[in-house]
Chain length 573, copies 2
């Protein structure tokens, strides 16, 4: 036999839905069988969904996942399958089962457990030891799980020494802007340095804050990408590998796939320059990630439809557009809640956008209720018209109304805040922060504009009216207000935030990159002081290397910034 | 020399406030010097505060903490000190520095890093290796850090073999109901089994969700507790140990302490019976924990005063009482916001409680605004009077008003929800869940009553009116409503919740403990489905073995309960 036929089953699992996940695994095994594959491989923890988090502390959950594995075993007549599950011995392991011809042949335990960023795997799993290799139809394979292959000295090294010809790497690798390049660069290096075929199967789909982008990939020992699955959707690709001669065939027999030749120069993402962060492919991927993240959260939480407070601003306009792309126009409800401070332009722009999207738009003015709050609070709140309290009340009246409609019609509210404003606290807690899911929470304002322009470029007619994109951003909570009354230009703000948040730069490092000292200090103070708001914010879709969720665990009671600025003041630093 | 004089400096640190923490360390070194101590010891990570969380990812933070250590070194003339800090080599370590007579003598790196429950130490630190012992004035000591001593095979074993006579264990051990007994039992066993003196120094104070209870303890090799510091407050105790003869002196020379003879039988907490959870000492400790947690959060977040929505119910009454005990009557503002559904009794009870506590009470009726919401929403919300939407609107109007006062007067809002209702979602998100800190969030309703009765027992006159304690609990959001319209009795509810949440029991295990099958299923569904609300809830004070914070990390999009109930239904389980 010269050819080894392998199928990569890039499925979208749901955490805890063991029946659904098992059904998907079984139907993909059947599909691979029908294509005469020797082996079909599935993503990390495909039986449980990823990440199961503290469900892993429930003994019954572990037991149930093993029962599901036992249901899959009989389906593997005349085929092999590699399936992610939780193995339980004296402890539990993040594992891959190799099943061949109705028999469990062996199990690989993940050796390298990530415990940084959004990952808490050492909270649950014991690291695996003694990697081994398996013989499938005369071909020797080594199994790795995700992190295992990211380190130079992962288990594949020993497996190669033992005679492995293919490394199967099963993954649940979360999407981040620019990560695809880094991942492919790593895989190319592993294949070349070890002279091995690599089949990299990734999960696809959204799970709470995480997006798995798919892009499952097969590489030959020269490091060429010889097959790649679709991104942001389920896929099954099958490819023949000419293993015994260990020679790359220029035109591999691809039974079914969407092979994308990838000759991009791989470069490390320049995290320090937000403005240059997104190339054309990246903006496209980001938009797709937001669509899939929205759709999957809504559906996996068992909702049909969403409601969005449409202000006529760029953020809510982008959110409405993404939601419509994700869920279809019949499942998106817009609500406009104007006050005395909303201009005719923004109200008309909202209407135009709703018409462009084809979604329903409901209007409930808040003026009368706002006047009543003024009446009962004016004794306690002097200078009502110019008081921040009155601005916040408007946002909170809107929150009450949208929550009432959400409760009444079982609509999930999509919050519309972007990363720049959530970072600086330029949001009203229990006001515009209200919602079940906050889809652009990890998208900086500068990228909000890029996404809006990108989406407009896809249709002949601008979906998002140019007036919305061009108008200076404003919360419209007092007369003639704009965001830049109290914040620097977004291009500068985002650059500072990116250095401080994603890159953990200190004050001096940020200043030395050309930013104004007082601006930097003001922004850092705002970021730190608003941790309490973020702690109560809706979950959102992670798209950067550090989101405001499991990724960034900051204390609320925290006087480090005070300490730093005291010492800068004293000239000690 | 026969005597070795040791001081335990039980200080209250603040995360990130490196100057404050350093000042406290220096002043306690001076105090111990004035008492002619050979050695003064400080809690885990005393320079940075505990837990610093992702501040540890900032290189400057690590560097700053080492600069602070260098400031402390010169103060140790003619005394030794052991101080918790972050050591930085090729990686960072949770460490204890031994400084003697102005010289850094050595450093112990924590060997066993907790990465379960609220702890994420493997996210940050590398485990220490090669434990050693140090000679202080002719006495050999081994240093351990917190988790190091909880395991039978901790570094103290090797240190004992090397000749250690005293184990110094520096800690930041979070309070939980019943944990003191478990901790003391462990320490007694360590002292006896290893024939060693143990000086256990604990942190004291609140930090976000965690409370550190103090109770620093010295044990002799027979396992007797020969000195113990105060609980829930700063303390410095000094004691002479008769080391060379290694013989316990019945009356040790205690220079200053509040030695509490402790002859309690140590027993493992019976986590399965919520009703028997609290003995008299435990209820007292719990009340103290809530006071300290409240006071420290308010102060460390740089607030002076709090505001509480007082409904006349038991929860807000207990919260107001704890807040007054914590902050003083002048720093607590009550607000009563009656609607048509509030009875005269609850309104009068609120007034009586405010008078008893001596706090200001402000009244703003919500009736008129409620009517206005009805007017603008009645087309969208049919059957307004009997609709859940109208109930939620009331809670959210109150939220708007209390937030306005909070914004105007810079008052921290204390939310009043208890663990039973937060677990089941019997709360209105953006309504009564609103607040900066949720002090009884981890206290089950049955314990809310015990705490109210306990607090009343401390004064001649009942502070909390009996009418509040005896009235059937009600949200008063519709006519004649009580909690038991839709929930089982709290004694049963809390028992089920405790089995499910703290003990990870599955459905059958809970039913087998005598609970009704349908009740169990209903409650578990409620708990799972309301994860989204908890994710947006205010932080609160952890007092059980599993709080709704860093302790319990559950997915929101999670269909495991659906899977379980489908399979129970199909008779598969």
């Amino acid at each position: 036999m010269n050819n080894f036929r392998i199928s990569l089953a890039q499925i979208n699992t749901t955490v805890g839905d063991l029946d659904l996940n098992t059904e998907k695994i079984i139907s993909n095994i059947e599909l691979a069988k029908s294509q005469d594959s020797d082996l079909v491989i599935f993503p990390e923890l495909s039986i449980t969904g990823y990440p199961p988090e503290d469900l892993l502390l429930k003994p019954q959950f572990i037991q149930d996942n093993i029962i599901q594995l036992e249901k899959i075993i009989p389906v593997t007549e005349k085929i092999s399958a590699i399936i992610g599950f939780v193995d339980a011995k004296s402890d539990i392991f993040n594992s891959a089962a190799l099943i061949s011809n109705k028999k469990l042949e062996g199990v690989h335990h993940k050796a390298l457990l990530p415990n940084y960023g959004v990952f808490d795997e050492l909270r649950y799993f014991k690291p695996g030891e003694n990697p081994t290799i398996f013989n499938i139809n005369g071909i020797f394979i080594g199994i790795n799980i995700c992190e295992d292959i990211w380190h130079n000295n992962g288990p594949f090294v020993k497996q190669r020494e033992m005679g492995a010809q293919i490394i199967i790497n099963i993954n649940a690798s979360p999407f981040e802007i620019g990560k695809r390049k880094i991942r492919e660069s790593m895989l190319i290096d592993r294949a070349q340095s070890n002279n091995l075929y690599i089949a990299y199967i990734n999960l696809v789909g959204g799970q709470d804050e995480l997006i798995f982008d798919g892009y499952s990939t097969v590489l030959n020992p020269k490091g060429d990408i010889i097959a790649q699955a679709k991104s942001f959707q389920e896929d099954l690709i099958t490819i023949d590998l000419d293993i015994l001669t260990n020679k790359y065939i220029n035109k591999p027999t691809i039974v079914s796939n969407n092979y994308i030749p990838n000759n991009n120069k791989v470069s490390k993402v320049n995290k320090n320059n937000i403005d240059n962060l997104l190339d054309t492919n990246e903006i496209k991927d980001l938009y797709q990630a937001l669509i899939m993240g929205t759709k999957d959260y809504v559906e996996k939480c068992n909702f049909d439809s969403v409601i969005i407070a449409m202000s006529g601003g760029i953020d809510s306009s982008l959110v409405s557009t993404i939601a419509t792309d994700a869920l279809g126009k019949d499942n998106v409800y817009g609500i406009s809640m104007p006050s005395r401070f909303n201009s005719k332009t923004t109200i008309n722009d909202t209407k135009e956008l709703a018409i462009n999207l084809g979604i329903k738009l409901h209007t409930i003015p808040i003026e009368e209720i706002f006047n009543h709050y003024e009446k009962i609070l004016k004794n306690d709140v002097p200078n009502w018209e110019s008081n921040l309290v009155a601005e916040n009340i408007q946002a909170r009246i809107r929150a009450n109304i949208i929550m009432a409609l959400s409760n009444q019609e079982n609509l999930l509210i999509l919050a519309t805040g972007n990363k720049s404003e959530i970072a600086t606290g330029y949001t009203t807690i229990y006001g515009d922060m209200v919602g079940g899911f906050s889809i652009i929470k990890d998208v900086y304002k500068t990228n909000v504009y890029k996404l809006a322009n990108y989406r407009n470029s896809l249709s002949k007619k601008n979906i998002i009216p140019q007036s919305i994109i061009q108008r200076p951003p404003s919360a419209e909570l007092r007369p003639n207000q704009t965001d830049q009354d109290s914040l620097p230009e977004y291009i500068e703000l985002d650059s500072i935030l990116n250095l401080y948040i994603e890159n953990d730069n200190n004050v001096n490092e940020i200043i030395n990159k050309g930013h104004d000292k007082n601006t930097v200090k003001d922004i850092i103070k705002l970021v730190d002081k608003n941790e309490y708001k973020r702690r109560q914010s809706a979950p959102g879709i992670k798209v950067t290397s550090k989101n405001f969720g499991r990724d960034r665990r900051m204390p609320i009671a925290n006087n480090y910034t005070k300490f730093i600025f005291n010492n800068i003041h004293k000239g000690n630093k």
